[in-house]
Amino acid sequence: MSTLGTTARRGWWRPALLAPALVALGIFFVLPVALIIWTAFTDPAPGLHHFAAVLTEPSTRAIITRTLVMALVTATVTLVLAYPYAYLMTVVGPRWRAVLTALVLLPFWTSLMARTFAWIIILQPNGPLVRLTSLVGFDEPLLQSAAGVTIGMVQVLLPYMVLPLYATMSSIDRRLLSAAASLGARPSRAFRRVYLPLSMPGVVAGYTLVFILALGFYVTPKLLGSPRESMLAQLIGTRVEKLLDFAGAGALSVVMLLITGLLLLLVSRVARVSAMLGMGEDRNA
């Protein structure tokens, strides 16, 4: 509010405080990433041959497709599970809400390795899950399967879907639903025509975030999936571990970053369009 800000009028201390962070990130993060991208385009001579080499391998295209599909499935499953959960968070009292929030933040606290290992236990042949499902006649172990990987990823990504959803949902005025009812709408119609559209910003934000994160998963698919069905992150890893092909890995990384970037662009367009179509909260009503 005041034009004063903090007291140092001489400008030197802010840049000085900022410098260590910028230098550290510059040298140990930005530079390496820039270098590997540079290598992808220029090693040994400028050109796109690494991209060609990597993308013409038939397995690569299959992997990229599989990664996109997995991300889609994971994001969708996560959304289906997270939506009711987030909704419940908005209707319960503060104590229950605290419990639900703590539960959803639990994955942040528990080590990824520990959790992935736990899924190995649960999903293994003759593990507890198989014993449960064989009761209904399904006795395929889910370890080393796409389904297993999906379950593992969904658990890790649930918080990233619940939190944006909750943030948007908690700002929806629930009296709008009562208003809809007073105008003659059945609960399901009121939900579909009033609540759902208003929750869209949260849905879009959460879905995008989860999708993008799912694209980059490495540990979960590697440990829970079968080597014949690897994802893009594993491909990049293998390229380096087995072949020491940094340029190729760089090319694949560029591909991954491009897909992510394109997605973000698409989402921001869609978000703008939907705002134009008035799918957001209409304050002029």
Binding site: T3, L4, T7, A8, R9, R10
Partner: protein
């Protein structure tokens, strides 16, 4: 050996102080002012008039575009705030929430490397000065607004600054509390003797507290003077209308008369040219009939349009024939029963008015 909060005040001189933000009109435009040692000077004006910016330049939070700020002859304009040895009280107190009242007051002494024993005694002395010794260990959130402001005052004075700046310190308080604290501040000023520079937009507050007032408008000082000088002899229309209420007649002066439309009024002294005559409402008298015999004073005829009873006074609005209206204030003792629609005469003596270039 006890340390008395010393009585000393510095002279503060502002020389051609200007603050410009970008290409907009300057927030403070060539302001020059000399504040005498130990004086209580108020910077008065509406928001955006430049008074707060000026105060902040004295404090060091805003760097002047041009000009000098002299404290006892020494130019401090280039010094950072923590080197200026000035005291300041803020509108929202700015007490450190994680420290008790005593710790807040001790803070500046600790920054000056005062010994622990001396800190303790000076802190208790400062809190006694503001009559809060018994609340020394309370946290700010355990204190009322008025108490917090007094702690802020103690904190600002404990290190004997030669100048104390106050940025609308009573703005966040309700009327009764404000009046109580005004009395406190006056008392402390007399006891301590530091030069006080007080910023406010409340003209009643300014009139009550100050030795002298500098009236700010649009970045310039329109007039500096004692409360009485400003009230009785305003030099500009803005000052006349900002301090108290005024009735203003604009016309052409020739010698001792002012021609306003087809009315002639008598001036307190000879003038010529375009002038405004300012008459305070309490200097006017109401009469049901024209004064007989006609006096040397001024007399105008009008019709009462509004009569407001304010307890201690009556405020009566009278429409004059010329289409303008005039406000007359009569004390309750006058038992005025002028009613809307009544025909009345307004009189005043020329020496009870003042003239401003218009």
């Amino acid at each position: 050996m006890s340390h008395r909060i010393a009585a000393r005040g510095a002279e503060v001189t502002l020389e051609h102080l200007t603050k410009r933000y970008g290409s907009a009109a300057p927030a403070v435009d060539d302001v020059s002012l000399t504040i005498r040692p130990g004086e209580f000077m108020t910077l008065l004006g509406p928001s955006g008039s430049g008074k707060t910016t000026t105060l902040n330049m004295i404090a060091g939070f805003v760097e002047p575009t041009t000009g000098r700020i002299l404290v006892d002859g020494k130019n401090v304009a280039k010094l950072p705030p923590h080197k200026r040895d000035i005291g300041m009280v803020f509108q929202h107190y700015a007490l450190f929430p994680h420290m008790s009242a005593a710790q807040n007051v001790a803070f500046p002494l600790q920054e000056r490397k005062v010994s622990k024993a001396e800190v303790a005694s000076r802190v208790s002395e400062a809190l006694e000065l503001v009559q809060l010794g018994h609340l020394a260990d309370r946290l700010p959130r355990q204190l009322s607004g008025g108490q917090q402001q007094r702690v802020a005052l103690a904190r600002a004075l404990v290190y004997d600054p030669p100048v104390l700046l106050m940025d609308e310190p009573l703005g966040a308080l309700d009327k009764k509390l404000r009046e109580q604290l005004q009395v406190e501040i006056s008392r402390i000023h007399r006891e301590v003797g530091t030069t006080f520079v007080f910023v406010t937009h409340d003209q009643e507050e300014a009139l009550a507290l100050s030795d002298r007032i500098a009236v700010f408008n649009n970045g310039v000082i329109e007039q500096v003077g004692t409360a009485e000088e400003l009230y009785e002899q305003p030099k500009t229309l803005f000052v006349a209308e900002f301090l108290g209420k005024s009735n203003v007649f604009v016309g052409t002066a020739q010698g001792e008369t002012l021609t306003v439309g087809d009315v002639t009024l008598r001036l307190p002294r000879p003038e010529s040219g375009s002038r405004a005559l300012v008459v305070r409402p309490e200097r006017m008298r109401l009469h049901p009939d024209a004064p007989q015999p006609p006096t040397a004073g001024n007399a105008l005829h009008g019709v009462v349009s509004n009569h407001v009873y304010l307890g201690s006074e009556h405020r009566i609005t009278v429409e004059l024939g010329t289409g303008t209206s005039v406000t007359v204030t009569e004390t309750a003792a006058a038992r005025s029963d002028a009613r809307p629609g009544d025909s009345v005469w307004i009189t005043w003596e020329p020496q009870d008015s003042s003239v401003i270039p218009a």
